[in-house]
């Protein structure tokens, strides 16, 4: 078997079987399940409150019938017929409130008595009463039902959202923008979490091998290129495995729960297919390029550490870079037009955090998007090459100096090797 694959397989197997991987995969699932559970619990609570029936006290038969209609989701306690009974029922909390209504000269005068339980239902009740009043008056004026319909037809008001883009007015699909912003927000957080986790994993892998001198044995068995990319591939495969597990769990959960009323309430208005489509587009490219870039950097910084204990210190610069990107991204969410945001969106290390928000807000042209993608991918390739060049000499340096000192010494070893190779050639 090719040594590259031997290394890839070893990294993958070792990590997949570790307890840490299980925790890493499960913890977001537990958090999601916890939040879903909490949301479900509170929504149940909320739904339960207006479950108390109301009482309707009206001389007019029509009003009485209005509320005993099945289509209402309000339950009417038909046994209560006087205000006094209603007050007593309200006191012992067997009803949520009561409606007193009478018709005086074709005008409905009504009063809704409640302990703020029925505020949500109040507009509905008023609308029902208004409709009934219209019918009463139409009757008085001898109007045909068609005429009533014609009169009560509301005016049409359509919201057309537009966007000012490079001096022209552009149509904006509001739902689309909402989804894109949500996607950008989601990707931002996901990149952050994945960078933190996977930068840690690869830096530890490398520093561990260096600290235990396994590195010297490996680099006298396989080329540094095979080792470096084998490790990267292994770690990226672990990432894909984690994503695949989420996809499967998410898919299964959706199929299982989609018929539940609660889920439909939440997901009902959202087009899942279009969200997925959105995520599969630019966003996915930014996600992968972003994580890859930071993982490469982490391997580089990990190879600077002398001991396992120094890993956290070594990856600190990466965490700061990622945090900077993340906060500029959050800023971009509220001010996507800002020129500072525009500049950051083209700096490869920050592109994955910032550009998705600009795409969502529609403040960047397609050309700009592709420029940033090429920039990011190109940069990822360049830092891979540079990291690899340093990697070989980094792993031979065991010093207690700071990172910069180590980079300097690594540079001089690299120069010395390069000079030697040139002389030999």
């Amino acid at each position: 078997m090719n040594k590259y694959w031997v290394i890839t397989k070893e990294v993958y197997k070792k990590n997949i079987k570790s307890f840490g991987f299980l925790i890493m995969v499960l913890s977001p699932l537990i958090v999601v399940a916890f939040i879903a559970g909490l949301t479900y619990y509170f929504s149940q609570e909320e739904q339960q409150t207006p479950d108390l029936p109301i009482a309707v006290i009206a001389e007019d038969e029509g009003i009485d019938q209005l509320f005993s209609n099945e289509e209402w989701n309000l339950e009417v306690n038909e046994a209560i017929e006087t205000e006094q009974e209603a007050e007593e029922a309200l006191l012992d909390e067997s009803i949520g409130g009561y409606l007193v209504a009478e018709v005086v000269d074709g005008t409905i005068q009504a009063e809704l008595v409640h302990t703020n339980e029925l505020s949500d239902q109040s507009p509905m009740i008023q609308e029902a009463l208004s409709t009934y009043q219209t019918m009463l008056r139409a009757d008085q004026l001898d109007l045909a039902p068609e005429a009533v319909l014609a009169l009560s037809e509301p005016a049409l008001l359509e919201n057309r959202l537009i966007n000012i883009d490079e001096g022209t007015l552009m149509e904006e699909d509001f739902a689309d923008q909402f989804i894109q912003q949500g996607g950008a927000y989601f990707v931002s957080i996901a990149i952050m979490i994945f960078i933190m986790t996977y930068a840690g994993i690869i830096a530890e892998e490398v520093a561990n091998e260096k600290g235990t001198r396994i590195m010297e044995v490996i680099l006298s068995s396989a080329s540094a290129t095979n080792h470096f990319f084998g490790k990267l591939t292994g770690v990226m495969l672990i990432l894909l495995t984690q994503l695949a597990i989420y996809a499967v769990v998410g898919g299964a959960a959706y199929l299982y729960f989609r018929d539940f009323q609660f889920i439909q309430d939440i997901v009902g208005g959202v087009d899942i297919a279009s969200i997925l489509q959105e995520l599969m587009g630019y966003t996915l490219i930014f996600f992968i390029a972003g994580v890859l870039m930071y993982v490469v950097l982490a391997a580089f910084f990990g190879s600077l550490a002398t001991k396992m204990e120094d890993v956290n210190k070594a990856v600190t610069p990466i965490i700061f870079l990622a945090l900077t990107g993340f906060y500029v991204g959050m800023f971009a969410l509220s001010a996507p037009d800002n020129s500072f945001v525009a500049v950051f969106s083209y700096i490869p290390l920050f592109t994955p955090f910032v550009m998705p928000f600009r795409i969502a807000a529609g403040t960047v042209s397609t050309l700009g998007i592709w420029l940033s993608i090429f920039g990011t991918v190109g940069f990822a390739i360049v830092i891979s090459i540079i990291s690899l060049a340093f990697y070989r000499s980094n792993v031979l340096i065991y010093s207690d100096t700071n990172l910069l000192g180590t980079i300097k010494r690594s540079w001089s070893i690299m120069q010395s090797n390069r000079k030697a190779r040139r002389q030999q050639a």
């Binding site: 040594k3 001198r213 031979l396 030999q424």
Partner: protein, 299 residues
Amino acid sequence: MLEVKDIQKTFGSLTAVDDLNFTIKPGEIMGLIGQNGAGKTTTFRIILKLLTPDKGDVFWNEHHLTTKTFDKIGYLPEERGLYPKVSIENQLLYFAQLRGKKKSEIKPLIDQWLDRFEVKGKKTDKVKTLSKGNQQKVQLISTLIHQPELIILDEPFSGLDPVNAELLEDGIREAKANGACIIFSSHNMNNIEELCDSLIMLKDGKPVLNGTVRDIRQQFGRTKLFLESDLTPEELHLFPGVKSVEKTNDGIDVVYLTETEDGKAIFNAATKDGYIPTFSQQPPTLEEIFKRLAGEKNE
């Protein structure tokens, strides 16, 4: 056959290795000695292609040693390390695979190697559960199990008790019998004298000794005389060429001479009445040579 020709390596103003030449034929063992920082590890790293020399070349079987030779190498670095959370078996398989072996080739060999080196523990045990000595033995096995033709051991004896050192010596001898070229460094001159066919001593990157152990000792002359006779230290001091006289706990005089020839006059005087129990004129031990050379200032 390993040939190192005119190797030179500098880091900035520091010369790590200079003008180094040696050849190790199949079935030969070479010892590399020198103080810390003398250039031993740099030499190993150059052979292993971890570093590129400024001048000179390394040849394997008359061709440039390249990454293609890697599968034939067994290397034990000075500071020991294994993956703590991986089982002994998987660890050995991984390193052997990196040396181009198939899992199926190595798997049947593991038990017998663990037995031979008396590793205490099952092959499914994680390395971190083993004692330090046993971990060291597992690493030795990983250096040798793929039957390398070029074996490079950086301080293999450090930290081993005499019983385990013996096991390692046996392992090295067996590899030699199988025709491997072996090079190792050590601070223990006894190991070098017992095992090595030839040796090189480095000082500040330059070879100051190069040759077989016997030749090197002889070139310093038989200047150390062990003597048990009626001659008193005072009388011994009167002989020409006597630098100093020491008495050991066993009552034997150790006479340090300037020249080998200086011993003859003492022999004649000591044996003028016939039998004496001890007259042994020897070259200095490797350890003494080492200390003497290491102590000398550079010219």
